[in-house]
Subunit: 199 residues, 4 copies
Amino acid sequence: MSPDTTRRSDRSRRAVLAAARDLVVEVGYPRLSIEAVARHAGVGKQTIYRWWPSKGAVVLDAVRALSEDETGGITLPDTGDLEADLKTVLRATAVEFGDPALSALLRGLYAEIAVDPELAMLYREQVDRPVTEAKLARLRAGQRAGQLHPEADLALCLDLLYAPFVQRWLLRTGPLDAAFADALVEATLRAFAPVGDVE
Amino acid sequence: MSPDTTRRSDRSRRAVLAAARDLVVEVGYPRLSIEAVARHAGVGKQTIYRWWPSKGAVVLDAVRALSEDETGGITLPDTGDLEADLKTVLRATAVEFGDPALSALLRGLYAEIAVDPELAMLYREQVDRPVTEAKLARLRAGQRAGQLHPEADLALCLDLLYAPFVQRWLLRTGPLDAAFADALVEATLRAFAPVGDVE
Amino acid sequence: MSPDTTRRSDRSRRAVLAAARDLVVEVGYPRLSIEAVARHAGVGKQTIYRWWPSKGAVVLDAVRALSEDETGGITLPDTGDLEADLKTVLRATAVEFGDPALSALLRGLYAEIAVDPELAMLYREQVDRPVTEAKLARLRAGQRAGQLHPEADLALCLDLLYAPFVQRWLLRTGPLDAAFADALVEATLRAFAPVGDVE
Amino acid sequence: MSPDTTRRSDRSRRAVLAAARDLVVEVGYPRLSIEAVARHAGVGKQTIYRWWPSKGAVVLDAVRALSEDETGGITLPDTGDLEADLKTVLRATAVEFGDPALSALLRGLYAEIAVDPELAMLYREQVDRPVTEAKLARLRAGQRAGQLHPEADLALCLDLLYAPFVQRWLLRTGPLDAAFADALVEATLRAFAPVGDVE
DNA sequence: GTGTAATCGAGACGGTACGTCAAGTCTTGTT
DNA sequence: AACAAGACTTGACGTACCGTCTCGATTACAC
């Protein structure tokens, strides 16, 4: 599709991402080396350097590859009940983060992002934005349905919902369980409840 | 005081932390090497390896050293107005995070913590807990003063207040300005407002 | 020619041996470090470790390189007068051992050989054997010419000729001069004189 | 006895030499470290540095200690038959060199001597000279008894006898057996035979 | 079909840093 | 004063990777 991938070997690309994924899980992100990825993938080092600018970029790609099958746009469930839907989604996310492969990859990615502004930009645009759009869409629908304050700052609302979740996972300050997910949803919805909507 | 530090050279300890601080700012955390820290500190590498288990531990100590002078316990302002006090604190924190030295050190620390559970534990116990205690104390005072719901989960309340703040800083998803600080405080306080307290 | 040297950089090889030679002369064998050789040769340490198993092996190679230009086989002079020829050779060897570069290299080599059986084997096969063969050939010619006892043990004869010489040089028990060389030759030839050949 | 050993702890001295001997045998001379000697001997590093100038000096002392019990002067057997006596002595020396402890110590010592002129001097004076004197005395007795040429250079004679022997041991060019010892003695005595004494 | 040029695997290269070991000096308290 | 203990600076060890650079050997498009 894009012109700079004309002659690119898809076999090598997949092998590199798979090797990166496996090795991150096996030895951890800091001990992941381009050298080892090339070895495991049966690929020349130059092939990696040709297509990815850094170790972090490889891992970011590996993260994207994990959810590559979802060809269509991401959509959140919409049963009409915003609170229930958000709890469903947050609980599902908690389960996802329990996957050692995804978890190890994401930890490595966050470590690099914290420290590499370039990669942070790529992350925001390629990983974060699509899902954030989907989440915002669901919130907007809820807002239209009168389940959120009409002037609620939906971006801020998303921050309240997800940032504590990610932080708890990243710093391991507590378990990512359903109770936490539910409490987060409830508190956030209270903060952006429509007028007079307090029990 | 403690027996295992009997013969430790305080001169070397300070020099290492200062060198680590300076070098993180200068070249960034990933390019910070124990070798360079030793060189800049005029210290043998072995002295660093003798007293710190890893590069991350040195940086954690350097972060602690930045606030070492505050000998007394940490206390948050308490003017009686919880909202105003929280805004003051959050705005001040935003300013602090603008300091290149602190910012670079913390980014490095977060990068390592994301990926090193041992260091994460040290961080929680030595850096996070003291300030979290102080924040909780202020919230508890506000709760007693009727400015928070009597059954509010204060830990969750802190998460809503700070996690979005830290996440925005870490991922550079937006500016850390007074407007954001104020919006965070207001949303969080709405989520944990005392009964019937909606204007 | 040999398959394991296909991609080897000859430029690096020469630079390493030259640096080793120069540094041994400059600082002495015990203070010769692989690190310094690499630095002086403008070569990565790994390149040295890739092609030589130890410091001693580098020095052995440097010794070989000193006489590398002599492409042809080694041959001792044969004027028909064995005694005169041996004196010529031994005197010449004494002069050679006066060369600081050769002397320093050989001292280092002997020091390592004394203590490393592997290197000792390499030395015997790659350095000692060729010249020993040449010396034996000359003795054999003398024997055929009736200048040595027909049943003389020529290997032992060589030992008597050269071992005292090397020992005096190694332990510095005396000067390596023409008088000593001549005395050695005369005594040895007396020991292996043909029958009835006593003045 | 000597003034500079007034306060010297003999217990420490013995412990150091014993530790050096044991460690040389165990790990080989090049991997022998002052640090390990001190540890094994239960002695402070400073104590070693106070009394010995170098690792080589410690080993030289350890070699001397191995033959310390022989309080009296060294004397070679004198049965009246020089050839038989020399064969006895050389065969005995061959056996001695088979002792792993002595052999390992001597190899280390020779390695250092090859490269350290200071130590070489100490070796010549403290180890070599006494035994060389004894050997010379026996040769002189043989010379007086008419078993050697009256004008034989006895020092050279000793060189022919011992240097090939030491060289074979040092370079491992062959076994140190009785046959070699006998052959050496016979060849050397032929070289310095009294006039007309050829069978 | 057959060049031909980019990509591929492999891996040597000059480097930097790793974490460890030991050297030799210095300090502290004990005998 | 000499001792055991051990922290200190220094420097080298041998290893792992970095990112660049040749090497042939595919390989896939243009002719």
